[in-house]
Symmetry: none
Subunit: 192 residues, 4 copies
DNA sequence: CATGAATGAGAATTCATTCAT
DNA sequence: AATGAATGAATTCTCATTCAT
């Protein structure tokens, strides 16, 4: 049963997510990713430029999907802005809940590589942060709060919860994490 | 050319912080750290077991100092608990404000390595998180908020601010960052 | 310049024998072995675990072949036992006469490494010594001689002749060496 | 209690014998030899040129002492030549029985280094072999036996017994080894 | 496109030796 | 002579990447 071309591309990506999550990018071996994906080592290079490109693709896909979801949300003006904020966070949460390996890659590698790569990926992330800022602003932050800075606080808080949740030894449930982040969001807005 | 004077141990550690910050741990070369420290390559191994031990020592020193400062704070019962919380965050902030290279190492490497090392270092970090939880509890979180989870939100928020602040292109001042994190803390407590 | 043809496994082994013979195991460089074998340094590690594994493989092959020859001999019960003993020694002699580099590796490294490795290789050597003991016993040692000990004397004597013979400056011929060892064997047996 | 100068020299030599026996020359660390000898690393170089010189000194002392003993023996013309041969072997045996670490160094390193060093040490060994040849000749080898070659057989046989005996797992006693080598010697001479 | 053996640049680490004290 | 921290050359082994098939 031959795999279709498209399958191989994503099989490799998925394998890379798993191996990067387990070993970290630096320790991950391309040959091992290929093994996990069920292809030959050389085949990886038929689909990706390099090991680094693999990570880059993972991040690009990840942020593209997240942005796509968030852009839809942002367009739905009938939703109250406070609820839009919560739904944004939900969307991010959902993305990582669905794939704890991706969550671990995000947590471990994003800081370093997003800083190192100065290209399209930073733009994607920037758009995400801008959306978050706008939404925070619309939701009505408490007096004195600067959405340009608060967005980082919110992002950092969510990132850390994802970090904990992606750990198999995490003592609290996804739902508990989720409700606590909502409480934080509400306390930041005048409504809270 | 044999260097005898000076504290090589610290010189190497400091050089390592700088090089790890610039290149990332994986890309950092021991020979380059030695060069920066002004010692021979082999001398690094007179003071540290391995490149990884270098990073471990950096983290141990970092968390030891932070914990020391926080332990003092925690003991000062005459300070109102809400203020203690703010001072705790100040202490962490101060530690990294004083050394932006250390901040970058913290931001880029902590997640991965703290998970990989399961030893004394995790304990140190755990004690930090426990202190944070206790202080949040004492400060009086809003109804429904679980200090076991909120501590991660607070830690993540602070971590992210440090991340931004350590970036030379960061558009806001350390003071602005600081006042915004205080606003967040206050909004989490009933007082806010 | 990518070499595809030929048996790299053997080429590397053969090169290793030569280089180990010339430089000694400790002084031999893997890169040099690769050069002699006409392959890239890294290719050595496609076929062998380590430099030590290279030596181990040399010894395993050597003893396997010798044991194979001796086992055949031992099975031929129609040959008088005294002659079997001589033929055994011949077989060992032939093996090393055919490859003086192998002889030098045997002479220089066997004592140390056979003691250091406690695994399958020792078993192989043990079987060789047991065969020798049995053959000495069958050939009829002189009164008072213990085959459990005499086998070491015989082995040591043969080993030393190989040692001398493998030296380019050796003043006597292979045949002279051979006839002298036969005289010794005969003097050990009642027939002598 | 300060050590006298002479003590340090021999303390280092003795430590070197032990460490070379345990680890092999190549794996032995000068720093460890110094530790065992109870001196500083640098002190080794006050008494010896190099690590290799240490081994060289060990061999020179060893062969000097052996030759000294054998020369005495050779001079005692009142002793029957057959007995002189046996006493020669005894002397060699005694030397190594008294120091099993020295025996192991002899067994493991002599072949390689004696070949590598082409100087005074080879001469010493040569004189030993010449004495052995002369003694074998005097003792009266069986017809057809060439003392130029038989001396190697005898040397190799004795060397191998020393090898076995120096192994802690050796199943036979020193005395058994000794009596078996005497039986071999006797069978080589017409008297046997 | 698929394969996986071959490549070789690169880096952490070791350790014999030196030398300032 | 004694010390032991400092040195840096040297080497094994790794692994991302290539390319002949």
């Amino acid at each position: 049963m031959r795999q279709k071309t498209g399958d191989k591309h994503s099989a490799i990506l998925q394998a890379a997510v798993q191996v990067f999550a387990d070993q970290g990018f630096a320790e991950a071996k391309v040959a091992w990713i290929a093994r996990v994906a069920g292809v030959a080592t050389g085949s990886v290079y038929n689909y990706f430029e390099s090991k680094e490109d693999l990570l880059h693709s993972i991040f690009r896909d990840m942020w593209s999907r997240i942005l796509e979801a968030l852009s839809e949300l942002a367009a739905q003006e009938e939703i109250p802005s406070a609820e839009r904020l919560e739904r944004m966070v939900d969307a991010v949460f959902d993305r990582f809940s669905a794939d704890s390996n991706l969550a671990r890659v995000f947590v471990n590698e994003q800081s370093f590589w997003m800083h190192k790569w100065e290209g399209d990926l930073s733009d994607l992330f920037q758009r995400f942060m801008d959306l978050l800022e706008q939404t925070l602003h619309d939701a009505g932050l408490k007096p004195g709060m600067d959405p340009r800075i608060q967005r980082y606080l919110v992002f950092g808080a969510v990132r850390q919860l994802i970090h904990q949740w992606a750990d198999p030894k995490c003592p609290f449930s996804r739902d508990a994490a989720h409700s606590q982040i909502l409480l934080l969001l509400r306390s930041l807005t005048t409504a809270g």
